[in-house]
């Protein structure tokens, strides 16, 4: 996994950016050689391998070209069960993340703004700690844990991985939700709702949630993308999730199916983030201009 600014989060300035700056006329219309050069390089370097992978995925087991590998995805039970596991993990993690983080973000913004810096620091931790080290810690925990805990957590990939994927998702989700909450008039909304007799739970669910829909969706998209891609912890702890199954299938001689599925995964993830860029651009937010 990764590090640093989570610029793809909605409202984080990468998409849309600050208010459009007055650009000198003509500057953007005429493509310059240095721009064309890097675009050509980037296209070769990034699209080339994808095209190669696509070509590879079209080679069927009998040697001819066709979409056979894509058709076989549905028949491959190992991958299917792993995919279901991963989808379960993604869905639960995405919901859990919002349930855990939205009240926290609201509470910090409302009552404890001094903790903002600390929150940013804490939510960066999962980025600073290499996943392989987290996995090592879990392994150690697993071998020392009392039996009831092993039964409760580690016996099934969903219960074993979900709590930790929530942690891994923190850097993305905290920023997404924080940007969302910052863009609404939180104090007024909460005061109004509380004055009308709503409980805290009602306020969060019925008043704040509808107002930060896009941020919540963004947080969930990023979490799903993360859960479908995380492979290090799952591999080290020997759980059979989707990306782990992809690797195993590719080693067992059915690489075509693995590659076909990877292309679908990439397209799906790209679709999620691309949709997100439109959601984020829909509303104008005060921009933060910070890189963390």
């Amino acid at each position: 996994m990764s590090f640093g600014s989570v610029g793809i989060v909605p409202g984080d300035d990468v998409v849309g950016g600050p208010e459009p700056q007055p650009v000198t006329k003509g500057r953007k219309e005429r493509p310059r050689p240095w721009r064309i050069a890097i675009f050509v390089l980037a296209a070769l370097y990034f699209v080339g391998p994808l095209a190669s992978a696509f070509k590879f995925s079209l080679i069927q087991s009998n040697g001819s070209y066709g979409f056979g590998n894509y058709g076989q995805i549905i028949n491959n039970s190992a991958i299917r069960s792993a995919l279901i596991t991963s989808l379960e993990i993604s869905a639960i993690t995405a919901v859990l993340v919002v349930v855990l983080m939205l009240p926290t973000v609201v509470w910090v913004r409302l009552r404890l703004p001094k903790l903002t810096l600390m929150m940013e620091g804490v939510t960066l931790l999962p980025i600073v700690i290499p996943p392989v080290v987290l996995a090592a810690g879990l392994e150690e925990l697993q071998s020392h844990a009392p039996e009831w805990l092993v039964k409760l957590l580690f016996n099934h990939p969903v219960t074993a991985l979900t709590p930790f994927y929530v942690i891994l998702a923190l850097p993305f989700t905290y920023r997404a939700l924080d940007n969302g909450v910052r863009s609404i008039d939180l104090h007024t909304l909460v005061d109004a709702s509380r004055n009308l007799g709503a409980s805290w739970r009602q306020t969060i669910v019925h008043v704040i949630l509808p107002n930060v829909e896009t941020a919540v969706l963004g947080a969930m998209f990023l979490t799903i993308a993360l859960c479908l891609g995380e492979v290090v912890i799952a591999t080290l702890l020997l759980y059979h999730t989707f990306p782990v199954a992809l690797i195993q299938e590719s080693l067992s001689g059915t690489a075509g199916i693995s590659v076909a599925l990877s292309i679908i995964t990439l397209a799906f993830t790209f679709g999620l983030l691309f949709a997100l860029s439109f959601l984020a651009g829909r509303r104008h937010r005060p921009s933060s201009g910070r890189m963390i």
Partner: protein, 272 residues
């Protein structure tokens, strides 16, 4: 606060287990011997050397091309299609694509890869020398594949913060484009670029997914050694050596993050 409790349990506990395990013997006594053992092992020393070399060159290459690409994108229309596509694609490559990316890489530069075959057709045998896709160079080339997009994500806000007025002011005072770059743009951007490059270093240093998918745990880098120590059961006591390696990794990353934080304080002056 439930959040604090959650982080403490699900992040703090595993971390505690790593540090505690690294600092104790099997009988539970306090010791530094695990660390000493990792320092004295030639294999682990090579692993650190390999990891550092791999991280340095992939982060430098990633930084150069990332800044270039980001500058080309920022020069385009804000909010345009190009930006959306590049920023979404960068997100996918930088954060979420470890395994698929490795496969794409094999399909391109593997022994039967498209580019390998193409080059062979025009008479260049990529595999004539010591190059393979599972060598340090091969894996590094795949790392660049996520380093460049990460640089684009990290540096774009800084590039957007460069005000056009500055360029106009410089040109109004008679500066050439080159002098504007030399005396205004580069000094303003330098801290951001250095900071982002540090992040790239840390990212490559702790990354394992791509290497895992490309070569498994046979490549001698630190995360692979941790994987081996924990799941391989080759040596007695290997578990604790793995944990000690983990702590050492965290220390390296913390040093990098402290440098990042120092540089970042300077970068913020101009970018708000």
């Amino acid at each position: 606060m439930p959040f604090a409790l959650y982080v403490l349990v699900f992040l703090g506990l595993p971390l505690y287990m790593v540090i505690h395990g690294a600092l104790t013997t099997d009988a539970g006594h306090f010791t530094f011997s695990n660390f000493k053992a990792t320092f004295n092992s030639p294999a682990y020393r090579t692993a650190f050397k390999n990891s550092v070399i791999l991280s340095i060159w992939t982060s430098l290459v990633g930084a150069v091309f990332g800044v270039w690409l980001a500058a080309a994108v920022v020069a385009g229309k804000p909010g345009g299609m190009l930006r959306r596509v590049v920023s979404s694609a960068s997100g996918v490559f930088a954060y979420f694509a470890g395994v698929p990316l490795a496969f794409a890489w094999v399909a391109t530069l593997g022994a039967e890869g498209v580019v390998t075959v193409l080059l062979k057709d025009i008479g260049i045998n990529l595999y004539a020398g010591s190059f393979t896709i599972s060598s340090l160079l091969g894996v590094g080339l795949a790392y660049v594949y996520f380093q460049v997009p990460l640089m684009v994500i990290l540096i774009t806000p800084a590039l957007e913060g460069l005000r056009p007025e500055w360029q106009e002011a410089a040109q109004g005072l008679g500066a050439t484009k080159l002098r504007y770059l030399r005396h205004v743009a580069i000094p303003v951007l330098a801290p951001s670029v250095i900071g982002a490059t540090l992040i790239l270093f840390g990212n490559a240093f702790s990354a394992y997914a791509t290497a895992l998918a490309l070569v498994g745990s046979t490549l001698n880098i630190v995360p692979a050694q941790i994987d081996d120590a924990i799941n391989g059961n080759v040596l007695v006591n290997a578990d604790r050596l793995g944990l000690a390696l983990g702590v050492e990794m965290i220390i390296v990353i913390v040093v990098v993050m402290v440098c990042y934080w120092l540089v970042q304080r300077r970068a913020r002056r101009w970018l708000r």
